[in-house]
């Protein structure tokens, strides 16, 4: 029996519009985009020009600071446009009718060694699957991670069910695990939820150390899991990878193709039928227009979940690491004496609102901040939702003071934005702590 780690801190935000475990079909997207902004810590350098014909797996741009790290086209087609803005690029591809793939060498995984694996992943663009901790940036190919971590469940609001995402992909998942084992000197950890048995694809995976977690969000965050399994200190490097990318990695080494098609949940209170769709990373979200509820108020279409996702809009694209598209109403009304009236339709972690009396009620939350920005009021609210031995308010203050050494001492190596997203949600002072943390991480990376 695998060990169970129980986390008492955290917060489950119950929203309307959870996905039914049903597959549905949507129209084929008319465009795809690969966006450098999806990848933390890189400086993009273009490798193609407008009008170039590309296949799935053709490199589009690389990291100027480390050129072997390439980012590939998800589909075959023609580069329709290249948009540059603020040192970021967005390469838009018009797909052709038949999806053609670049082919990469396929050898039995048992027979290939680490340098070959790294080389194939770099060439194909699959290296971007690997995210390094600390900093949450694309992994450095010349580093050997202490361990590799996979979170087999997601506790974020309206998150896609990871069991559904990997269903039927047992062989590719196992092949991906086998590849990962060759990349680390330590173990490959797979975290599962202790509340229910996971999909047999993950339960039966071999060569992984299964650890079970029990608790509220952010128990499903890989950063929180790392903290409780083998915490990172200064100088440590571990890698993380999402279950769907493990499958794509397995396909790369068994079929020789870069296939980033994945299962995506369309969720949120503004969606007609919240279901799962098969889409490819970078797909245009315009195809979802007919699937949303007709509404007089504007809607926010988020690639990802409501805590960490990107405000993509219908003219945006599915993010590389996102497994869900969330649609919620935009807030568009100032509330007269809203700070005094009982908030029965709002959600709060505190007992000021009545949401604590109704833990199972599903809320239709909008994008209003529900207040103005104020100075830090440290009353332990951050600590209540962060199940890590970290003092978040002290960490954020150290970052704001540009005191990188103190931020190191206070555990900045162990967290990225998604880990502190709940701190931002519950913040009475409406401080954007995710942005503060990224600022601190960037300063630390420059210093290092």
């Amino acid at each position: 029996m695998a060990s169970v780690i129980r986390l008492s801190k955290g917060l489950d935000i119950v929203l309307q519009g959870k996905a039914e475990n049903v597959f549905s079909k949507c129209d084929a997207p008319l465009a795809y985009a690969v966006q450098s902004a999806d990848f933390q810590g890189i400086t993009p350098q273009l490798l193609v020009q407008k009008g170039a014909a590309v296949k799935a797996g053709t490199a589009l741009f690389c990291d100027a600071l480390y050129p072997p790290i390439r980012f590939a086209s998800p589909v075959s087609g023609v580069v329709a446009d290249i948009v540059s803005n603020n040192n970021q690029v967005q390469i838009i591809i018009t797909p052709n009718a038949t999806n053609e793939f670049e082919t990469f060498d396929v050898s039995p995984i048992e027979q290939i060694d680490r340098p070959q694996i790294v080389s194939t992943m770099l060439q194909s663009g699959a290296w971007a699957f690997l995210v390094q901790r600390p900093f949450g940036v694309i992994a450095a190919p010349d580093a050997v991670p202490n361990n590799i971590f996979i979170s087999g469940f997601d506790t974020a609001p309206l998150a896609a069910d990871a069991d559904f995402l990997v269903n039927g992909e047992g062989d590719a998942f196992q092949a991906g695990i086998n590849v990962l084992r060759k990349l680390t000197k330590g173990k490959v950890y797979l975290s599962l939820c202790a509340d229910y048995p996971a999909n047999k694809v993950m339960e039966r995976a071999k060569g992984v150390e299964i650890v079970r977690f029990k608790g509220k969000h952010p128990a499903g965050n890989v950063g929180v899991q790392i903290h409780h399994i083998a915490p990172i200190s200064k100088g440590d490097v571990v890698w993380t990878i999402a279950p769907q990318h493990v499958i794509a990695l397995g396909k790369l080494f068994t079929q020789g193709v870069y296939d980033v098609a994945k299962v995506v949940a369309l969720v949120g209170s503004e969606v007609k039928k919240t279901r799962y769709y098969r889409m490819t990373a970078g797909a245009s979200l315009a195809v979802l227009a007919d699937l949303l509820q007709a509404s007089a108020t504007p809607q926010r279409i988020i690639s990802g979940n409501v805590l960490t996702g990107t405000n993509a809009g219908l003219d945006g694209y599915l993010g590389f690491y996102h497994n869900e598209i969330t649609v919620i109403p935009e807030g568009n009304a100032a509330e007269l004496l809203g700070w005094l009236l009982p908030c029965t339709r709002k959600f709060s972690h505190s007992r000021i609102c009545f949401s604590w009396w109704m833990p199972n009620k599903q809320y239709r939350l909008d994008t209003l901040t529900n207040g103005s920005t104020r100075p830090f009021v440290a009353d332990g609210e951050y600590e209540r939702v962060l199940p890590m031995d970290i003092l978040p308010s002290y960490l954020f203050k150290a970052i704001l003071e540009h005191h990188t050494e103190r931020a190191e001492q206070l555990g900045i190596y162990e967290v990225i934005e998604e880990d502190v997203a709940l701190c931002e949600f519950v913040c009475t002072s409406k401080i954007n702590v995710q942005a503060i943390l990224r600022q601190g991480i960037n300063e630390l990376r420059i210093k290092n």
Partner: protein, 383 residues
Amino acid sequence: MSTLGTIQHLKNKVEQIGEKNILRSMDEAWRAFVYVPQRVTTTGAHIRDAIDLKRTMATVVIALLPALLVGMWNIGYQHYLALGQTVDFWAIFGFGARTVLPIVLVSYAVGMGIEAVMAYWHGREVNEYTWVTCLLVPLVLPPTIPLWIVALDISFAVLVGKVGFRGIGKNIFNAVAFAHLFIWCLFPAHMRGNVWIALGPNETTIEGFSSISAWAQATQGGELSHYYITDILMGWVPGAIGTISITATALGGLLLLLTGIANVRIVFSMLLSGFLTGCLFNYVGGSPCLDLPAVYHLLLGGFAFGALFIATDPLTSSQTNAGKWVYGLLLGSLAMLLRLWTPISGEAVFLAILIMNIGARLIDWYVVQCNIKRRLNRYKVKK
């Protein structure tokens, strides 16, 4: 024209006046006060908790209302008791309201006025912390306090206690306790002795009636036997405007504890350590003050009020969970020690809070260092 139409018309008029106009700033301040802003998330989490500082501070003000209302009634009750007259409820409450409301109004007018000017000066919104400060300041004063002292008190609280430390969030001392002690040192004649019964012009108490506070009566060897315990619990004894009723304080405190605004760690540890220290001195004995049963120490002299409403100020108390326990324990003991051994006894809770405000930073420093050390040890073990 409908009411909303009229408001919109006036709003448009104000906007036409110009960008850098004080009228426009006042309009903005007013709108910021009455509305939860129509501001949507732009970065990070797309949804946010319903709680904000306005709602938090409004809850604290609501929690203070029982103390204010009971305080008003008690001022009237003590007044007519001192005169030896028996009148109906509304006459009692009416006198209390006439005495207390001007004090509260002056506090709000001066405090919010200064805060509004400062907000305009610094180009920021009015901070809601001042709502609570402006109510707490009069509640800890005697009913006979002159209005100009109230104005001075709240001015000191806002200008020195908050703005002097470069704004709310950076202040290390609790502004209410800070200003209260300042006034207590400056104007002792208005803060001590026979100042606890409000009397009208040409009114005198009946013979033998004491105007000193119940706390002073108890600690100076006077008899408390003429007060029933219910009188003390309900607050029907002479004392400060809002701190005297344990029932009203507990009612408001319960709201703050239930909503999580007041930290239960601080309140519980402070009351516990205060009680235990009191018991210890009961055991030692030797003076009326030391012999007063420990439970009376918690019921009289604003100890409970200080524990629930002032010591729990999140900005100036300890900010780490472990630190809050230590902070409360030390604060309770210190407050009890000061009131038993120093001449400041009546205001000991305020002085103890100020001292522990400094101590809180030290306690937090140790807690943070422990956290850092644990992380460092982990690193060394790995190496």
